[in-house]
């Protein structure tokens, strides 16, 4: 589902190396946690996957799409196939919960009837039934993140990338968000999660990839967080 082959990312001439010849393979329907200290290269890795940035060298193939052959015009089509959840939610502040989710479907030109059918179901999955008409500022952090997740999964992507989705949340809310991610994974979506949270990593008992200084230092199933 995700394949990285000796991917290197350097910034500028003297900016240093963010990722150093990373190779990685993620199977469909896997739940993978990427851990590492700030600046280790986690965010860079995710930005390469969403094509916010280009690698300096190496090969990236996601869901059968070879990034080398991807034209700028085709980037929107790629992003529609990948669901992304950000640490800072990135919700549209002047739209309601419902509109934030339906917006993702409007972009791809889905019919209104289909949208009205899909959005309530997705909001139900993330546990936001009854809050459709709230504005993002009226929600707690955990609720906001669940709106973002609903928005990311409503298009039924095969891959969900969650970049520190619990970074701004207290433990109880963080766990709510993680449970939603597990639920989505059970429906068959490949989940790639980055986190700092040792507790979450240890309780999930999933494949853990540790990045340090731009390199993968460990990759093991049912892994634990090693600081």
């Amino acid at each position: 589902m995700i394949l990285l082959d000796r991917v290197t990312k350097t910034y500028g001439r003297k900016g240093g190396t963010a990722l150093d010849r990373i190779s990685l393979h993620v199977e469909p329907k896997e739940f993978v946690i990427v851990v590492g200290a700030s600046g280790a290269g986690k965010s860079t890795l995710l930005k390469l996957l969403t094509r916010e940035e280009k690698p300096s060298s190496g090969k990236i193939i996601v869901g059968g799409i070879d990034y080398e052959r991807l034209k700028d015009k085709e980037i929107p089509l790629l992003r529609r196939k990948i669901g992304v959840v950000f640490q800072d939610f990135k919700l549209l502040q002047n739209k309601t919960v419902y509109e934030n989710v339906s917006f993702a479907l409007e972009i791809v030109g889905m019919g209104s009837r289909e949208i009205n059918h899909t959005v309530p179901k997705v909001l139900d999955i993330v546990g936001l039934k009854g809050k459709e008409k709230r504005m993002p500022r009226e929600l707690s952090g955990g609720e906001r993140q669940r709106v973002a997740i609903a928005r990311a999964v409503t298009r039924q992507p095969r891959i969900l990338i969650a970049d520190e989705p619990t970074g701004n949340l207290d433990p109880a809310h963080a766990w709510d968000v993680i449970k939603v991610l597990e639920k989505i994974n059970r429906f068959g979506t490949t989940v790639l999660l980055t986190t700092h949270n040792q507790d979450i990593v240890n309780r999930l008992k999933r494949r853990v990839i540790t990045i340090d200084d731009g390199k993968i230092v460990s990759d093991r199933a049912g892994g634990e967080y090693k600081a």
Partner: protein, 320 residues
Amino acid sequence: MKQPPFLRRKLINFGRIFRTGTINFFRNAWLSVAATAVMVITLTIILFSVIANATFANTVQQITDRIDISVYLKDSVNEEQREDLISQLQNFENVRSIEYITKEQALEDYKDQNAKNIDLLVAISQTDNPLPASLRVKPEDPNRIEEIRQFLEQPDIKDLQSDETSYSGDRKEAVDNITQATSFLRTAGIAGVLIFTVISMLIIFNTIQMAIFNRREELTIMRLLGANSWYIRGPFIVETVLYGIVAAIISIAACSTLFSVQAAAFGVSSLNLLDLQFANAYFEQRFWPILLIQMVIGISIGAISAYIATRRYLKFKTIK
């Protein structure tokens, strides 16, 4: 994920872009008011410049129409010689028309002009008709009468003339002055229109750019969700096009009001070079075309500004 067929999807997208743009127009009420106001001022300035320019041109036309060259003929000139002279003059490109005024006609005109001067009328009726027949030559362009003048100064032509050639009854310098002044006014009018158009386009562009800067976060999010460029840009363009349409209507309404108030209040038909009656008629006769042109200008300024202003935020951030 099911998707409707291509054409239906395009229609749905267009509908949504249009709806979002309209909603934004009302949601960002203050910005809409500000941008529309600038647009109204622009369109009104352009409209006024155009009307003023047309009015000046009309004044110039009226003055130049009055400029003519009178060639006074000796009584001894026979019909053949006269026709010969007329056809020679007609060969000049710059000659628009030649009117032959007989001695009798000249006398009638003279009597009409001096209807109040009884003594003069009595004196003139007691003699033979002292007035010469003449040719009234109207030039196409009063600035270029020099060649006609040279032709009339030729000795054999001069022989046919009883008096010095008269240029509009005034001295030639006076004619020259008027034509120079009017052509200057015309150039100034066109330059004014251009300058005001450019200035107001810059202001509008800036306003829209500010609006987009305020919503750059929104643009980035749309981009990350995989919206294509037109889906993001479209609503902005719809919004600015609405500014243009509303501004055109307000501008026209304001001008209409102004003209009708002016016509009612002053009852004055002209202020020196500004023939208000003409300006009024010009505006009224061309009301619909002017409204249409105003809308086209407003829509173009808005759409072009929005297109350029969004371009910057729609580039893919792909750092190598």
